[in-house]
Amino acid sequence: MAAASISLSHNSILTPPPIPKTKTFLGVLPNSIKFPVTTSRAAAAAITSSRAISVVPRATSVDSGSTSEAGSTFHGLCYVVGDNIDTDQIIPAEYLTLVPSKPDEYEKLGSYALIGLPANYTTRFIDLNEMKTKYKIVIAGENFGCGSSREHAPVALGASGVATVVAESYARIFFRNSVATGEIYPLESEGRLCDECNTGDVVTIEMDESRLINHTTGKEYKLKPIGDAGPVIQAGGIFAYARSTGMIPAQN
């Protein structure tokens, strides 16, 4: 089956999927779950071996030029924020009328990412009249994404062009939503990178090495490995991952 072989190549340099678990998993999948038999867009995109999955905007698709083949390296400018950046600062509630599952509104959500930061953030995250940010990497302190359960928050970041957030720690629901949607890689740093880096620094994140390199300061930092969440985000979220690994029937 196409999806299965693709999942192997996807995971060749990442953590392999827990295949024995998959089988158990299928066994307990409730009978009532009905999945339509159509090809998933992620799988279809993978078949054509195109990294630019333009129909499903994801973390892996917004960084076309500067991300290596398997999405294991991110390179670009960073935007630095502090502790307890809550979801209202990531995407203020007035923009929640935008429905993330509608493609045009998805784009619009992206254009409002981090617009709720207070005035002491003097550098705009997204320039005036722009839809996308030039900062591919957000570096944060503790408890990033606390507050509301709105999935709009990781979606807005992903839609704005952010590939990964590197924070000291995350609020639980934000972390889960990030992985479930596959919008961004929520990476954890070993130390307090938000005090070490400045907005506009050029950084590279090597996922395989769990390393962040700040080219502007010339320093290197250790990151915590993303673990099993990596392949899920790589696939484009839980539904895509479950299909690509055969956990749930693929759409065709």
Binding site: F25, A93, V99, P100, A119, N143, S149, F175
Partner: protein, 600 residues
């Protein structure tokens, strides 16, 4: 509290009709055995076939339970139809209720349709509860459209519990419309002990007040539950702890639980808060939870359950328990629980006909840590800007001048919250000095505000007392300005205000300009207001007297739950979270005020 009397009758009507009882598959359950389960840790599946025990044997002596469990763990064990949870196990958990609203509903529906197909049906039309409540009374077209999406979906799927609103001009002509989802869930009988309730809102944890497992999830997870009615739960490899994730989140155990709860493989991730002592009559549950969040910080309970016990908690009404559990997420918690008791059963008597079975933490269940509070020694608290854990005594902030007071939301917009505020206004006999906005959470609360007599007032209602005190007329029930919302949301903190005090009256004009612009481009600002002669005069005067005052940012004392920058609208707004007592007292003085000034 006006209605804090606890029923002395310990006979809850758990099971009102036999039909429902059969559906839940514990037909041998009697009131007696339910009562017994307070002491016994036997899981429901076994319970249903055994004869009731004759003595209070400890769980360990029954032979059927190997590990003592906490309340949260027991609910999840039962919902997964397992006698108990084994470490490292992945289990499907049946969802009893899934709630969604107008902000996250359309996105969840979009994912459901995309992943399960255009013609897919939800797993159970009676277990999905859809409550429009966030952006209702607005002219925002997209917000209105989102309610239409919910309506279309509910019609298509024949959803039983959809609390619709069609006529926005007068909420009272919409008998189905409720208001704030978490309060409506309780009032409509959707919250039941021992069950699993998920919602696409972080404050879904409010329902933990009923001794159930309740937590917030994202659109993608909700999209899965819509189709499957289940979620996947990961039982952490730590002994007897169940850190769970939804759907395929077993994959993430390394990154999600690994770090936090696996450091010590013997401890479960439940924090227990034991609150004892008589609650002083100037404190409310809001003070208790602000105390706790101040203690453990906004990330202190991340990935953890919070269980509230102790004599004080037992004495709290259901609405007060809901306040306590509501703000669990402000500490990062995944859920909060208060063990169900006679107060819970009494509240549920006329609200649900569905059978339920409460569960309780075993005496030997281990907790990650236990915090003890002597409530009689606590004082009224506030959370200062811009974080719910920025705790301070209300009296320490007495010099903080405020611009408005907001009483509303799932945290502080319940009937008892308004009764509490009315009690302060009544005790003072004075008028408010700042605009005081009142937003009842639900239609039921609104009716209570207009109908229930306030104790000691000679039969006056809250609404009469509010009017005499000079408050704004209670608004249509919704989430209102708690989370800002569209620009035309009632009582939203829109822009910095310039203000002038004239004798007892306040006058304000808001300017459509940013505070920084105001400072940098004063001439422009003048031109901007020149059309309004009165406003021009006021501003000119204010600027002459004290330019910084004229440019002062708004300060709000609010009974809501979050005070991060921009939460109630303008990102420079300063929000002090407080109890309804403290909010009302502050409204009377125009400064953050300890309610003891009026209540003693």
């Amino acid at each position: 509290m006006a209605s804090s009397a606890i029923s002395a009758t310990p006979t809850p009507s758990f099971i009102a009709n036999q039909k429902d009882l059969g559906r839940f598959g514990f037909s041998s359950t009697s009131q007696f055995s339910i009562h017994k389960c307070k002491k016994s840790a036997i899981p429901m599946k076994i319970m249903s076939v055994m004869t009731p025990q004759q003595s209070d044997r400890r769980p360990a002596t029954t032979g059927s339970v190997k590990t003592a469990l906490t309340l949260t763990e027991k609910i999840l064990a039962r919902a997964s139809e397992k006698p108990q949870l084994s470490p490292g196990e992945n289990v499907w958990v049946n969802v009893d209720i899934l709630m969604t609203h107008d902000v996250c509903g359309p996105g969840s529906i979009g994912i459901f349709k995309k992943e399960f197909g255009e013609n897919a049906k939800v797993w159970d039309r009676e277990k999905l509860v859809i409550i429009p409540d966030h952006y209702i009374f607005t002219s925002d077209e997209r917000a209105n459209r989102n309610v239409d999406i919910l309506r279309d979906f509910c019609t298509e799927q024949n959803i039983k519990y959809f609390y619709d609103i069609k006529d926005l001009s007068n909420f009272k002509v919409n008998p189905d419309y409720k208001g704030v989802c978490h309060i409506a869930l309780a009032q409509e009988g959707h919250c039941r002990p021992g069950e699993v309730l998920l919602g696409t809102d972080s404050h879904t944890c409010t329902a933990g007040a009923f001794g159930q497992f309740a937590t917030g999830i994202g659109n993608t997870d909700a999209g899965f539950v819509l189709g499957a009615g289940k979620l996947l739960l990961k039982v952490c490899s730590c002994s007897c702890s169940c850190s769970f994730f939804f759907f395929f989140f077993f994959l993430f155990c390394y990154s999600e639980t690994g770090i936090l709860s696996c450091r010590d493989p013997r401890v479960p991730p439940t924090l227990r808060f034991v609150m004892d002592g008589e609650m002083p009559d100037y404190l409310l549950a809001k003070d208790l939870i602000l105390q706790i969040i101040g203690e453990i910080s906004v990330s202190g309970a991340t990935y953890k359950a919070m269980e509230f016990t102790g004599t004080t908690v037992e004495s709290l009404t259901m609405e007060e328990r809901m306040t306590l559990c509501n703000m669990v997420v402000e500490a990062g918690g995944k859920n909060g629980v208060v063990p169900a008791d006679s107060t819970t059963f009494k509240y549920l008597e006329d609200k649900t006909s569905i059978g339920y079975e409460p569960v309780y933490s075993d005496a030997k269940a281990s907790f990650l840590s236990e915090y003890r509070f002597d409530v009689s020694k606590l004082e009224p608290l506030v959370a200062k800007p811009h974080s719910p854990d920025n705790r301070a005594l209300a009296r320490e902030c007495k010099d903080v001048k405020i611009d408005r007071v907001y009483i509303g939301s799932c945290t502080g917009g319940k009937t008892e919250d308004f009764l509490a505020a009315a009690k302060v206004f009544l005790a003072s006999g004075k008028k408010v000095k700042v605009p005081t906005f009142l937003v009842p959470a639900t239609q039921k609360v609104w009716m209570d505000v207009y109908a229930l007599p306030v104790p000691g007032s000679g039969g006056k209602t809250c609404s009469q007392i509010f009017e005499e005190a000079g408050c704004d007329t209670p608004a249509s029930p919704s989430c209102g300005a708690c989370l800002g919302g569209p620009k035309d949301t009632y009582a939203r903190m829109n822009e910095p205000m310039a203000k002038l005090w004239t004798n007892e009256r306040w006058s304000m004009i808001t300017y459509n300009t940013d505070s920084r612009l105001l400072k940098s481009y004063l001439p422009f600002f003048m031109i901007n207001v020149v059309n309004d002669n009165y406003g021009y005069l006021i501003c000119l005067l204010s600027i002459l007297i004290n330019s910084s005052d004229a440019l002062a940012l708004q300060v709000c004392v609010s009974t809501t739950n979050r005070n991060f920058p921009g939460r109630m609208g303008h990102r420079e707004g300063q929000i002090y979270l407080a109890s309804p007592y403290t909010a009302a007292a502050s409204a009377l003085t125009g400064y953050v005020t300890d309610p003891r000034e009026f209540l003693q």
